[in-house]
Point group: C2
Chain length 209, copies 2
């Protein structure tokens, strides 16, 4: 016998988001933040994620406005850039990942750093006013913070800082919220990753659920 299941995409989304809003503790978030957190929980399949999410004051509004005004989206990994839903973008925003640029391996060697970190050097011409989405490498987030220590470095509009893992992820996200070079959000601790990061971008790009 064939399996029967919900096949209507819109109904699946509506039921998923209703379940999340019923189960998750979202009271401390603003309306702008809440729709982001709901989508992140959806991508992770994990009610409880909300406890680990932190926004700096006004970050969600700032990032939404930047995207509406056409800000490019700079991603540390192709899993992030590939996941962003193009039809949700409000201004046909450019989505950029420089990780496979042929200059990156040599740059990484010169910098004695990972390719993920080295790839950010190629962001400079696009960095001013951009929305940054780091969903994989703690070294990328640390390197971005070090780049932004220099006043001559262009400033992004906002940073989504969600690198994942066991070495440097927690520390790099704490450093982001302490330095706070621009409005930022994080998932505290080890949790993070490309799916959660993509969900944040997709939510900030459009109110459509």
């Amino acid at each position: 016998m064939l399996h029967t299941y919900e096949t209507n995409g819109a109904a699946i989304y509506a039921e998923s988001f209703a379940t999340i809003r019923r189960e998750a503790d979202l009271a401390r978030f603003s309306k702008d933040e809440e729709s982001v957190v709901v989508r992140m929980i959806h991508a992770a399949g994990m009610v409880g994620l909300e406890e680990h999410v932190r926004f700096s004051e006004g970050m969600a509004e700032t990032a939404r406005a930047a995207l509406a005004n056409g800000a490019p989206i700079l991603c540390d990994a192709y899993m992030v850039s590939e996941g962003i839903t193009r039809p949700r973008l409000p201004a046909d925003n450019e989505v950029i990942c420089t990780l496979r640029d042929p200059k990156v391996p040599e740059l990484a060697k010169e910098m004695s750093n990972t390719r993920s970190a080295a790839a950010l050097e190629l962001w400079r011409p696009k960095l001013e006013g951009a929305v940054v989405a780091i969903g994989n490498a703690p070294t990328a987030l640390f390197h971005l913070l070090n780049m932004l220590k220099y006043p001559s470095c262009p400033r992004p509009a906002a940073i989504i800082g969600c690198p994942v893992g066991f070495v440097g992820a927690m520390e790099s996200k704490e450093a982001l919220m302490e330095d706070l070079p621009v409005p930022s959000m994080i998932v505290k601790g080890r949790l993070g990753g490309s799916a959660i990061t993509v969900a944040a971008v997709n939510a900030l790009a459009s109110w459509k659920e």
Copy 2:
């Protein structure tokens, strides 16, 4: 002052995997399975994930052998296909995602199903002996199970079934383990997603840590 942090990719991997092996309960897994579970925990940043992972008997060995013999890898989402590390693939294996094929929207309408499910109809010429990696859509996994109800449908070598979310994810993965049309693995319940799925493929493709 600039941040200092571990910038050596190999050292980051080694320390991450050592932490996971220290903290996670991996005793019930075979050697072939353990390296897969460790990598999945790494991708999710989540010790405890191991409790939810299930392999059918011999799945990990079967999937490794299929990949070594050049099996194509069929993915339900671009976040999955983009995340697979090409240099880890043992036989320059083809990595396929059919979601953006121009035939998919019309097929989905005809089938009254999601585009994720409809895209699998285009897998048929590559399905025999393939390794399937479903990391996003429950509808894709359900539709695959329904395709495999017909004896005329080509058989993949193994299925990684890790769709994520609140509607159909749990149910589709339970259905996979009950039907068990071919050797399979799942993450039980709501958890899953592209990062975890990619980690499983990358681990099955190579023993390199």
